[in-house]
Symmetry: C2
Subunit: 228 residues, 2 copies
């Protein structure tokens, strides 16, 4: 059995850290975040999380294989933490893009632009979320699903706000948000494996698809109103 002791509170938490009693025992030379970084370095267009080995990550991080256990129970736990981080990072980016949206540059369009920008830059966080959705442990898949739900929720709120502003109706906004999100991610996943020249085409296709959905929900909202 491995130890996987808890103490390691030193700096492992990437975010806030209250007072904290001065530490006990040897100083940790590495943090959870460092390990996640190492894993991130190993991931690319041709390498997915599920194929990473514990030893490989440890090697990349410059620690002994067994030290890994001080930070994560196994690779699966690291993978989930990684998904978490990727999701947060990406939501922040898309969120910013959303705020840059204006009446002329719709929320949907500027989000898609930001999304494709990330894709075309070699942004690993996005790569991960795009392609790791369907393989791995149940816990892992749930983590990915959770991130997608976050995206959907934020989009849903925006869509409603937008519909009120522009005084267009919106039918089943939650479903609209879900459809858009899933479609963008699905199309993005295929775009990832395409040369840069072809990605512009995909982006255009994506935009048209989303417009169909938007037109659809608005039309359905109208005929709903009429019927009442």
């Amino acid at each position: 059995m491995q130890d996987h002791a808890k103490p390691l509170d030193s700096e492992s938490n990437g975010e806030q850290n209250p007072p904290q009693r001065a530490h006990q025992g040897r100083k940790a030379v590495i943090t959870r975040d460092d390990l996640i970084d190492a894993a991130l370095k190993l991931i690319g267009p041709h390498r997915s999380i599920s194929t990473l080995s514990l030893r490989e990550v440890a090697r990349e991080a410059g620690i002994a294989p067994n030290s890994f256990y001080r930070h994560f129970r196994d690779m699966d736990e690291l993978a989930i933490a990684l998904i978490d981080r990727a999701g947060r990072s990406l939501r922040k980016i898309i969120g910013e893009a959303r705020n840059r949206a204006s009446p002329e540059r719709s929320v949907v369009r500027s989000s898609v632009e930001a999304f494709m920008e990330q894709l075309n830059g070699d942004e690993r966080y996005l790569h991960i979320l795009l392609r790791e959705g369907t393989v791995g442990s149940d816990a892992f898949k749930q983590a990915v699903e959770r991130e997608l739900n976050f995206f959907e929720e934020e989009l849903r709120v925006d869509l409603i706000r937008l519909a009120e502003t522009n005084n267009t109706g919106i039918y089943e906004p939650a479903l609209v948000a879900k459809a858009i999100t899933r479609l963008v991610f699905a199309m993005g996943a295929t775009a990832m494996d395409l040369p840069l020249e072809k990605r512009a085409e995909i982006q255009e296709q994506m935009t048209t698809m989303l417009r169909m959905i938007v037109v659809g929900t608005q039309t359905m909202a109208q005929s709903d109103t009429i019927r009442l």
Copy 2:
């Protein structure tokens, strides 16, 4: 180096097989298809192709590990063949469902129904196509992509036919087909990991999403016409 000799034409081709000279040398005890079957047995909701090992498949098929090379260069080649088979099988099923469609039971709806039926039955072919799309070698991903394109193409033809029959317009039918296909597969992938009770809900969501797309394309077709 392995041999991976070609001769093995005995019965390896799952489909048509012309005259064929009486074979030479020892009779093959196993075929490519048998190996694919073995791999299929090992795959399930919690086991994906990419995690299968050559030895494992050979074991399941009851042959020595090295015999594998007589039939496939490596696991990747087998995986591609498997995708091929899964695609063919599934297209046949959906195709039949499509033909059962009538004016009241739209093509889209009955296809979705057939799709979910497959999902709820423990149909491995579908599981494979749903979840293996984004990981694996480039050749493998291309194989999956190819199957999706087949689905899209068949759907596209049907959509056009349908639009003419019902005299509704249709805007960018190819994109409509693509959007529908990708969305159904994406939603199906998440449904796969859900308990049966919740899948009905997903199916309903899926139907509404598709209706939005259809309404959208029709509306856009109309305003196109008007503008002319």
